[in-house]
């Protein structure tokens, strides 16, 4: 099985979010970057498990500049075989998807695994866009994936529950929680990652949207403390003051 896992880098979840250039640019000073959690914990690990069970290869795909190389090495340390980086600074999901689809279209992948969304853009768009560009089936928010020959059985998040789906390969999916358990790279993985291939391809695509301005949410007012033995008072406030119930 030939598997492509789309990996993006994202600011560490504890990062302070701030902007410079009058709210036009993300302030990356002091920010640590990680592999986007959905890509690492779920998409990548499930890809590696399938390879271990059925044979084949796991290639990671990242659209971004050389700054992404450390997180790509982490993915290699966890167990991907090799990596491709499309050397571009994408402005929107359409551009990212275009670059991934243009690379994947004649590589005969069986599976393209993505994360549910990036924790910085919160787009949840790239995976379905890739699927449409390749004219492949797409399963959003997949929580489970098994492959038998040419047939994939999946579970996905749906209204009020989990839906079971059958699809033939090739297939694009976006992975959500439940798909796999996080893996911590071991020393051997980290050592061998250094000698695995990270191929850089020149690329450019066209974006259709761009952020004009970032802003921060308004500060919360002070928290009103209600004594524990007057819990009934909270219910009154919720109804009469906050009008929340």
């Amino acid at each position: 099985m030939k598997i492509l896992v789309c990996i993006s880098q994202a600011p560490d979840t504890t990062s302070r979010i701030a902007f410079t250039d009058e709210g036009k640019t993300f302030d990356s000073s002091g920010v640590q970057y990680i592999v986007n959690p959905y890509d690492e914990w779920y998409a990548l690990v499930r890809g590696i498990e399938l390879k271990e069970a059925h044979g084949g290869t796991v290639t990671t795909m990242t659209v971004g500049g050389a700054v992404c190389d450390p997180v790509i090495r982490k993915a290699l340390a966890i167990g991907a075989d090799d990596a491709v980086r499309m050397d571009a600074e994408p402005t929107d999901a359409m551009q990212t998807a275009q670059l991934i689809a243009s690379y994947a279209k004649d590589q005969a992948f069986d599976l393209i695994l993505c994360g549910k969304e990036t924790i910085d853009h919160n787009g949840s768009m790239v995976p379905a866009m890739i699927a449409e560009m390749l004219d492949w089936p797409f399963v959003a928010l997949a929580t489970h994936l098994e492959v038998e020959g040419n047939a994939a059985t999946l579970k996905r998040e749906a209204a009020g529950g989990i839906e079971h789906v059958k699809v033939n390969l090739p297939l694009v999916l976006s992975a959500a929680k439940g798909m796999a358990e996080q893996r911590i790279p071991n020393m051997r993985g980290i050592m061998s990652a250094r000698s695995k291939a990270l191929n850089v391809e020149q690329a450019d695509g066209t974006a259709m949207s761009a952020v004009r301005q970032f802003s921060l949410p308004p500060e919360k007012g002070a928290c009103k403390i209600i004594p524990a033995d007057q819990a009934e008072e909270l219910i009154r406030l919720l109804r009469e003051e906050a009008k929340a119930i």
Binding site: V167, N168, S215, I245
Partner: protein, 314 residues
């Protein structure tokens, strides 16, 4: 020209997210002096309450579709048919599967998870898992938006819409649905759509103690949620996990008991309109993000709250 809303159905009725997409489309159409049209696939009663949202016409495809690529073809044909330059979906599992495909097919720019109508050529959405907002401009002629659940709301007051049959060449189904596991037996509103949420964390000590959380949720008609460690250790199912790496929610009321308020947890809940925190530790970071707080033991406070609500309703 018109604005097209894609409205998913569940058991023959538009989902709340679908009604929100229709409301958004109608409000936007009104701003632009255009008409809003809704697209459904499957059977509905009369106009499925879509007219009330301000939509003037409902295009109805008689086949129920679950396949994202079939939906995409249907929606693209509908957009063409009504000359829609703006297509609106809900940013749930349906909008995530169909919206971006549709954008590619229509050669349209897409902004997902918008929280308000476009203003001065840009539309607002949350980024960095709710820690910031971005105003996004789209440069293409056709635009696709998906609306964050519970951000825009369902509008009411329009008159019944005309329903017309609609069909298009949608190709073969490639995704075959073979089963369904309901998340909860008692028919709670799914978390992303819930207006009231009661959530608990490691402070509850063990899964056997969740009765007090469920009782409070039941008294309020709320949906239950939990922090990540609680679902990781299997005390609660994965679909209840809220936060940066779980579900992002935006309810009117979020009650958090025995949750410390780590930054990753807050990221998924800090857009709740009202936040209540119950925690034994007055220094718990969650109090800084809360509107109301009780410093106390959840095992005592939650049953009191439940009783107070029951007394109120009695």
């Amino acid at each position: 020209m018109s604005v097209l809303a894609i409205v998913p159905l569940n058991n023959g009725r538009p989902t709340k997210g679908g009604l929100e997409a229709a409301s958004y489309a109608a409000a936007f159409a009104k701003d632009q002096g255009l008409e809003a049209i809704a697209l459904v696939a499957g059977s509905i009663q009369t106009d499925g309450d879509l007219g009330a949202t301000g939509v003037v016409r409902v295009l109805q495809c008689s086949d129920e579709l679950t396949d994202s690529s079939q939906w995409t073809r249907l929606a693209a044909a509908a957009a063409q048919e009504c000359g829609a330059k703006t297509v609106v979906l809900t940013h749930d599992h349906t909008g995530r599967a169909i919206g971006p495909r549709l954008a590619v097919r229509l050669n349209a720019g897409m902004v997902s998870g918008v929280t308000a109508l476009p203003q001065a050529g840009a539309v607002r959405k949350n980024v960095f898992s709710g820690k910031a907002m971005a105003d996004v401009e789209v440069s293409s002629e056709v635009v696709v938006y998906s609306v964050t659940p519970n951000a825009f709301g369902v509008r009411d007051g329009g008159s019944p819409a005309a329903v017309t049959a609609f069909s298009a060449e949608v190709g073969d189904a490639r995704e075959q649905v073979t089963g369904f596991d309901p998340a909860s037996a008692d028919g709670q509103t799914p978390l992303p759509e819930a207006e009231l949420v009661v959530s608990a964390g490691r402070g509850l000590k063990g899964p056997e103690n969740w009765g007090i959380v469920e009782d409070l949720a039941k008294a309020l008609g709320a949906t239950t949620a939990c922090s990540r460690p609680v679902s990781d250790i299997g005390w609660r199912p994965h679909h209840e996990h809220v936060g940066q790496t779980g579900i992002t929610i935006r309810p009117n009321l979020y009650i958090a008991a025995g949750i410390s308020g780590a930054i990753q947890h807050l990221a998924g809940v800090n857009q709740s309109k009202v936040i209540v925190v119950v925690n034994t530790d007055p220094e718990a970071p969650f109090f800084k993000a809360a509107d109301y707080g009780i410093v106390g033991d959840a095992f005592e406070v939650l049953p009191r709250l439940t009783a107070a609500i029951k007394a109120l309703d009695a």
